[in-house]
Amino acid sequence: MSLLAAIGRVVLGFLAAIGRVALFAFETVSHLFRPPYYPREVAHALLQIGYFSLPVVGLTTIFTGGALALQIYAGGARFSAEAVVPQIVAIGMVRELGPVLVGLMIAARVTSSIAAEIATMKVTEQIDALVTLSTNPMKYLTLPRVLAATLVMPVLVAVGNIIGIMGGYLVGVNRLGFNAGTYLRNTIDFLEPSDIATSLAKGAVFGFLAALMGCYFGMRSGRGAQGVGRATKSAVVAASVLILAANFLLTELFFAA
């Protein structure tokens, strides 16, 4: 009996959590249509989330693109299909690896910092202070971060895709002996506009999820240093899992025939 009760508790807790997150997301989006707005906060978030993430996005994707080229070459050699390296690198980066890797790096870099910042504000009563100063924390803290992440992630994904393909190109041309012009032409000819559009759409969804999780767990933080630590950990884990799950659903939606 206690086993059933324990299972029930976990299931109910899980469903309640989904409900809370959904309400939180709904409230966040609803503030998009209700002034006042804080454009300065949005600009600050764009800079923090977008511009300062460029190095980590570049490093992640260039190495992945290079490794991908090596793997496909080695794997393709088994049935003498080495020539498909440019096409597979392009498809792999743009459709899957670009958005997912950039999403996960943003979860690591941005979700954690949002969660820790908001949780610390909560713990030190700064959130309460905002309310007493007639400022809604959802408008002032959550919306700017979620909006900025949703807008800037497609840009980061585009940059990541290009740098990833460049990583494959560098390895392909310098290590595997591809002709530079042929490699580029194969890449460009093979990619469809829809590949790029879906890649950027994934980016926007992942950015929304990453920032939303940071804000959600930050706002619900418990007391003290432990509360902040737990909020940060939960936010990063939830953002990463949601990004991978959303990636599967979006891939199913976009590409399943």
Binding site: P36, E125, A129, S134
Partner: protein
């Protein structure tokens, strides 16, 4: 006038407030005393609507606070009449000192041009005994006493009618406590504001209060003018004032 009638509040199984009744007259300085964990902060946050009371009535000038919807313009207008000094200062560490003080004046319905807001901030900083050169520092660069003063400057920046002080002297040395107490008294008198302070520092009580209320076990044990506090005849109040370990207040909590 602030009135609390039969206010109850529980967190899970833990009953914190069990029927608080309290009246604070306009223009008076009420100090709520009581041991740690007796619900002083919760009482204060119920008035501001930061915490929702389970049952009971909280009114400010006859207006029912619990009816104000989060984020509504009535609630914004209601909160615009308040200033609050938080226990740890609760300064925004991403903003400079003057931007903290002028927070209300830089956005929302009380928005003023930046130059003017900065001037008001510097003038409020001077009022709490800080020089203009701290204006461009960040909160993390200030000592605890200075953070409290900046918090005080922020609380009074928009000339509130009602000011709340949450343990204003906690964590400060005796001299700095004296300075803050004196400042609070001066500011309340000069602005004619209604003040509600929670503290367990008896020096602070005698310096700030017109009226005193003692919260114990989730209820108001005793309330009256500060002059009558020493002769209250209530064993709980007597024990609290003397700081004795002997008396009706259990020392193991």
């Amino acid at each position: 006038m602030i009135e609390l009638r039969d206010v109850h509040k529980s967190f899970g199984p833990k009953q914190v407030l069990r029927g608080v009744d309290l009246t604070i007259e306009r223009g008076k300085s009420m100090v709520i005393i009581g041991g740690s964990g007796t619900g002083k902060s919760v009482t204060l946050k119920c008035v501001l609507g930061l915490i929702e009371a389970d049952t009971g009535l909280v009114t400010v000038d006859g207006q029912d606070v619990t009816r104000l919807r989060q984020g509504s313009s009535e609630r914004d207008a209601f909160l615009a009449r308040f200033g609050m000094l938080f226990q740890g200062g609760a300064l925004f560490d991403s903003l400079s000192v003057w931007q903290n003080v002028a927070f209300r004046l830089l956005r929302g319905s009380l928005k003023k041009p930046k130059e003017e807001a900065r001037e008001i901030a510097i003038e409020k900083l001077r009022r709490v005994g800080l020089t203009p050169d701290v204006a461009d520092l960040f909160p993390a660069e200030l000592s605890g006493g200075m953070q409290k003063r900046v918090g005080l400057a922020r609380a009074i920046a928009a000339e509130p009618e009602i000011i709340f002080f949450d343990e204003p002297t906690t964590g400060l040395d005796p001299i700095m406590s004296g300075v803050i107490n004196e400042l609070i008294r001066e500011i309340v008198v000069e602005m004619g504001a209604t003040a509600m302070t929670i503290t367990h520092d008896m020096t602070s009580v005698r310096a700030i209060a017109d009226d005193v209320a003692m919260l114990h076990g989730g209820k108001i044990r005793w309330t009256g003018p500060v002059a009558e506090m020493d002769a209250s005849g209530d064993p709980y109040v007597a024990q609290f004032i003397s700081g004795s370990a002997e008396g009706p207040i259990e020392t193991v909590r």
